[in-house]
Amino acid sequence: MSNSAPPVINFGLRRLIAAFSWLRLSVGHEAQTANATMNRRTPKRESEFVVAYLFNTPESQADMLRTIGVGSVEELFDQVPRELRLARPLQLPPPLSEIELESHLRYIVRQSAGASGQVSFLGGGIYDHFIPAAVDAIAGRSEFYTSYTPYQAEASQGSLQTFFEYQTLICQLTGMDVSNASLYEGATAMVEAVLMAMRVTGRRGKVIVLGSVHPEYRETLATYLRHFDTEIVTVPTPQGTADPGDVTRLIDDRTAAVIVQHPNFFGCLESPREIFAAAKQRGALSISVFDPISLGILERPADHGADIAVAEGQSLGIPLQYGGPYLGIFACRQEYLRQMPGRLIGETVDREGRRCFVLTLGTREQHIRRDKATSNICTNQGLLAVRATVYLSLLGPRGLREVAELCCQKAHYAAEQLTANTGLKLAFDRPFFKEFVLRCPDDATAITQRVRSAGDIGPAFNRFSTLAGEFGAIANNLLLVAVTESRTKSQIDCLAKTIRSECSSATKK
């Protein structure tokens, strides 16, 4: 791969490594040298970190030690047995002032040929949707981002009411009865749904998941269920979607849950209504993995019969930031309320009769029920729930519909352009929402590298070991393309044109 990278990047990487040279120094027999270097540099920086975040002057420290009745800070650590103490300084890089830190980071980012300024057609559950400035303005208020879990209701009404609003908006959006106040991200939200379905149904025999569900979600599910005797049955989807009949045949009275992602990982629409109806008949729970943006135009998970609706909420005003933090959305029907994982906010009144909000039904949670809790989750994704709440408030019914329509129209235009005289074909002949799979004549990764100047496309299927196994050699030729409202006609045209010229030059070679 490094052969195809432009020389400037290789040069940049070499310099980048120089910026991390302490790492090389700090291993093996050269450690002593590293220590010596750091010891030389540390003293002149000492004042910097003291000024930055520590308050007490030497005089004030002396006064505090007198009050405690000890002669030195060292004495306070007497309870740590001597033989367990670290006898040397930690081997860490030397401290940086704010100016140095910023230039260090900017340098690394510049050298990394990052995403900045790059047109993105990347998808796979994480999308380059536009984030209105008002979302950043509210999430950037330190009253939200530097406060703790709202255990003290009187000092946390801001967060509590915001999370109550979040629960309301998620219920309105999905048509479900109750939503919790957030889980980590999409994959763990789906796993929590499966664990809940196993508790509710009392069945541990089988979980059915469509092959079109995000491969990383399925891998996460396998990790969590490894120590159970539960069989994970994957329904193959070589045509892009599952045949409802194939799924229905697999559901039996050992089945705890059936999982459908819709639109699925390939962007295609499944037939959740038929599948969920069959699950209901057999007493299994239906889990819908949805795309929140798609609900601007598609029917809601509740409408097609989902018992539990989960999603990756990144689309709702959360930046890409290389994989997280994102937002696990989890909503379900009223009857499963007491088996739900995660925090719940409830409305009540205070002693003056004023409406207010508190954490409620804590008896499901780890701090009270310990090993009998419905989940081990404690820290959740509060600030990301704030972002989603503000995002949905700003968009409203018309905004969300517009975003969904723009994605859908532009994706269809892009699919048309990218398959016109490019040698590329749509891999699946199925209705899709904002994402589709291209079948390339040769290695898809090579195409993504070649056309990068016009935009980032992918991921290619061979990037996921699970998909590589399921699709065989074809996986190398399959490429996912996502089109959001942020993409313009000229960007799409440019990508198509680049693929066309690259393809013809590749053929000539």
Partner: protein, 496 residues
């Protein structure tokens, strides 16, 4: 002294207490999107009409100023680290440096898609690789996974890693042990990872009872989970012996890193016998708590467990002086524990913090945190005695039992009244081993002056009338919400 309700709230925008749907007016809107610039077709031609929604989603209709005013006013109802002293025990509510907010938002970091090409990720991977190295060094446990999203997620990930290790060795170990004073996440994580939980009572002085531990160890013992310093703010004096006992029966020691702020650069979990640990980057390394999250809960483990860690991990290959970073899944990996790499936004803040402080700075953090805690403890000892230990580490657990017996003033009264005086409340009634517990963690980012004022305020409160305190707080936007009603007449969402 009592500030009347009207005085406290006369500047408050009462409209902010309305819910979004109560503020909603048909026809209002904030976000407007450009007209579609590609040729369009009716949606019913693109998508099956039986899958289309019959109407637009039922969301509130508001203008941008509506939204901004609503949430800005709501935010002012919160106490936060930026506005108040937040001595919440076991949560390490330290100052969150502003430089982290700016730098973590740099283009190239904040807009990096997880499925970019590996070339485009090199800078990010270099940072994450360096963070793995630094966390391994601070832990004394060299193999690091940055994937877990929070402390509890880290616990579960490490336990699954241990389970895979035992399985690989053909050992059937089913039990996870932990002291009574453990965080609730410990047993909950053990249960999710498929282990049976054994809770140890411990000694009256709050330490692990070695005899009790021995009696519970056998060839079914997988892991002993322990927080060190423990939840009483004391360094577990027998930790080395405990580790030996576990290792003698073939078990592993898990260190819950919630209290790492006390021992950075002083001692390392790997040096006192720990085999696995998690960090709470949102506690120790200044990831802002975000009203309850996000966190990041990376784990560090011994070399012999490295092969079982979840993927992906950042690795480095060097050739001819050029290094390249890549994502790798360890040979016998337990698999993924989430989608994508991890809570990178929080990990970046941890990275920036460690690069700012360096080794000496990090050690100074723990020294100052322990100094502040011991100072506040000494200032309060005569009115709020601390039943356990002569000195504390980064936090202490005081008891209001004396004031309850003598005056009828409980830990809850003190906690609630502190809010009136502009202090967030300490953790109360945890751990259970201390009656009327108040768990106080001042952190290193508070001054002597703040601690003095806080101590004076507690003295003032202890001289106030118990009846008055029972109905505190008096100056907060709401007071003593009816939690029983909230739990019985469940209202978990607004309804039309």
């Amino acid at each position: 002294m009592l500030i009347r309700d009207e005085e406290m709230t006369f500047m408050r925008n009462r409209q902010a207490a309305n819910l979004l749907f109560e503020l909603s007016q048909p026809g209002r809107r904030a976000a407007a999107y450009p007209l579609c610039d590609v040729p369009t077709r009716p949606l019913s031609e693109l998508l099956p009409s039986n899958q289309l929604a019959s109407q637009s989603p039922d969301l509130p209709e508001l203008t941008e100023p509506d939204v901004i005013r609503h949430f800005t006013n709501l935010s002012t109802l919160n106490m936060s680290v930026d506005t108040h002293f937040y001595p919440l025990g076991s949560c390490t509510m330290k100052y969150n440096p502003k430089r982290h907010e700016r730098l973590a938002s740099l283009p190239g970091l904040v807009d990096l898609h997880p499925y970019q090409t590996e070339d485009a990720q090199q800078g990010m991977l270099a940072i994450l690789f360096e963070l793995q190295q630094m966390l391994g060094e601070i832990a004394g446990l060299p193999a690091v996974s940055l994937q877990p999203a929070a402390g509890a997620h880290g616990e579960m990930t490490a336990l699954l890693t241990a389970a895979a290790y035992f399985h690989d060795r053909g050992e059937k170990r089913t039990k996870v042990l932990f002291p009574q004073s453990a965080h609730g996440t410990n047993p909950a994580s053990a249960a999710i990872a498929g282990f049976d939980c054994v809770q140890l009572k411990g000694q009256a002085d709050g330490f692990v009872d070695l005899e009790e531990l021995k009696a519970n160890l056998d060839d079914k013992t997988a892991v002993f989970m322990i927080t060190n310093p423990n939840t009483l703010g004391l360094f577990e004096r027998d930790i080395a012996k405990i580790s030996h006992l576990l290792h003698d029966v073939g078990g592993l020691v898990y260190i819950d890193g919630a209290n790492m702020n006390a021992i950075l650069g002083i001692t390392r979990p790997g040096d006192f016998g720990g085999d696995m640990m998690h960090y709470n980057v949102h506690k120790t390394f200044t990831g802002p708590h975000g009203s309850g999250g996000p966190g990041a809960g990376p784990i560090a483990v011994r070399d012999f467990l490295a092969d079982y860690l979840p993927g992906p991990i950042v690795t480095r290959t060097s050739s001819e002086g050029t290094n390249r970073f890549q994502l790798t899944t360890p040979a016998k990996s337990i698999g993924r524990v989430r989608s994508h790499f991890g809570n990178v936004g929080i990990l970046l803040r941890g990275y920036l913090y460690l690069r700012t402080l360096g080794a000496a700075g990090l050690k100074a953090v723990s020294e100052q945190a322990v100094l502040n805690a011991n100072y506040l403890r000494a200032k309060l000892e005569d009115v709020l005695p601390v039943p356990h230990g002569e000195r504390c580490m980064h936090e202490f657990v005081a008891s209001a039992q004396q004031s309850k017996t003598e005056k009828g003033i409980t830990a809850l009264d003190i906690a609630k009244r502190l809010l009136d005086y502009g202090y967030y409340a300490p953790t109360v009634y945890f751990p259970l081993v201390v009656p009327e517990a108040l768990m106080v963690e001042p952190t290193e980012t508070e001054s002597q002056q703040t601690l003095d004022d806080f101590a004076d305020t507690i003295r003032t409160i202890l001289n106030e009338s118990p009846e008055f305190l029972h109905s505190a707080p008096h100056a907060t936007p709401v007071s003593r919400p009816d939690e029983v009603k909230a739990g019985r007449q469940l209202v978990l969402r607004w309804k039309r």
